[in-house]
Amino acid sequence: MGEKYLMKGNEALGEAAIIAGCDAYFGYPITPQNELTAYMSKRMLEEGRVFVQSESEVAAINMVFGAAGAGKRAMTSSSSPGISLKQEGISYLAGAQLPAVIVNVMRGGPGLGNISPAQGDYYQATRGGGNGDYRLIVFAPNSVQEMADDVMDAFYLADKYRMPSMVMADGMLGQMMEPVQFKDPKSKKDLPAKDWALTGAKGRPRNIVRSLMLGGTGLYEHNEVLRKVYAEVEANEIRYEELETADADLTLVAYGSASRACIGAVRYLRAAGKKVGLIRPRVIWPYPYKALEKQAEKSKKFLVVEMNLGQMVDDVRIGVAGKAPVEFFGYAGGWIPTVKEVVDRVNQML
Amino acid sequence: MPKGKVVIDKEKCKGCELCIAACPKKVLGLSEDFNTKGYRYSTPLHPEDCIGCGFCAMMCPDVAIEVYREE
């Protein structure tokens, strides 16, 4: 743990990637994540690493495919409409079992939407987004510090499980400044060797990187391999935080920027003697269903707060499994919940 | 004229006849029978005329032909 810096979220994402040993970054301009690309254009070259401003989002994710295929740590970043363009490449990365990090600094949609913070890409990030059965490990930071920590973990877990991972922030987190301390990078010694990488077949049989499995039962078998990997991730990588949940009559569930207002609301309501808690998924795939199931045994009501029209609420309902009512509070298109709005809504329910 | 020898892997041949057209000595032709894939395959009908030029192998899309020539 080094010095404390005051940094923009987007720049902290970049510096954390540098510290994590990102070998190559490929990006295309889109607001509100441009500071990240600009930061990398300077720092990656200073470090003697690879930076390309690509001709498109599609090209950027495929450059990541190439660098990841070479066994290097590769990253791209964008915001919502650009992430949509990357879905083809993300699906291929997943199919070819290539580790890579994708950062989404979400903005409003659908379509070109606007450049305000939003959480409208939850389904896309946690259900796949591209074609086929695949998953990403998706981190959901709610501060500049967590953005930095998550990028480093995203590289590590991508390598550990040979799959792409995503850090899903939003325009507010990307643009705001907060203090951040960068962790030391995790040692790679426990990570599997990248003996599958395309480095030239010197002294070994040739390697092939592909997602195409024509004929026979190859694709079925490959999907069974992926199923096993995803089950392992689900067993090991669920991350969430609980705040005042032990005796909570009402449990809030929120992630990212929306969770900041919820933390404020819990403190305010507790000061007023109301038994309200928060479950905050730190990773949104794999999802902490069991934590919600457990909480539903003691909590009478749930309120999910998202900056969208209701996406994660589906996962909360899966976890709660009908044991308690689950209500939703959220708007899309640039709305950021305030503490007062959440408190008012909770008071209506209590 | 040097003396050549052409060896064709009949199971790799798809009978496209590009080699037959390329042979300056009209050594090659299609077989009367079929390989296991169901193709009539290219075969040296007049091996004694082969000069080992290698044109047939050069045109073979299936790398089914080996060519040898007397030193």
């Binding site: 498109s56 295929g69 030239g200 390697n207 195409l212 | 020898k5 790398v63 020539r69 030193e71």
Partner: protein, 248 residues
Amino acid sequence: MKTVYKKPESMTSATTIYCPGCHHGIAHRLIAEVIDELGIADRAIGIAPVGCAALAYDYFNIDFSETPHGRAPAVATGLKLTQPDRVVFTYQGDGDLASIGAAEILHLANRGFNITTIFINNAIYGMTGGQMAPTTLEGQKTTTTPFGRDLQIHGHPMKVSEILSQTAGVAYIARGAVYDPKHVMETKKMIKKAFQNQIDGKGFSMVEILSTCPTNWGLSPLDAVEWLKKNMEPFYPLGVKKDIDQEQ
């Protein structure tokens, strides 16, 4: 007896999925011969995206990647920039390179990255069953131009090599054919130069190869060769389109 010809080491012994008489096989073999002759099999990395050649990884005895449709130049960029001493090449068809991947190849060429591209132009989509390609000729019938390519409706056939030759980053672009031994030998020289340029750090090099697609053209392999000579070659003239060695 002296061996005049046998399978190059850089090819596997797999039988290709290509139809009888398809020129893909000849192009593959020439690339493998060049890799052998340059002694780069242990540092060559091939990339073939979607199309008939998507399965090229089965046929080359080197490290290989299958990639998204048209994106091979981007994937090559990632592979090459992170490993500059490896020899990276893409193998792309006309639908892949000139249509869905037009942006990627244009920007790779213009950046002038030290990568080699082999571009197979057979004026049609092969794997999907004979649809119009960007390079389909005027009047040519395909499954999506049943009345022939009409320039008013379908636009013009695209001369990719000529277009890319205008970009500053290109070191070498040539168009060859493989329909007879003479052209096979000439095209092999072009391919060898396109790889040698990369080894020498000269920048982006591409060889376009006019090829037949007998199945989707509805012709025998030998008739397809005649069709190529009569129709494709006049519109897509063979030869070197750009060579920085000649300009200096």
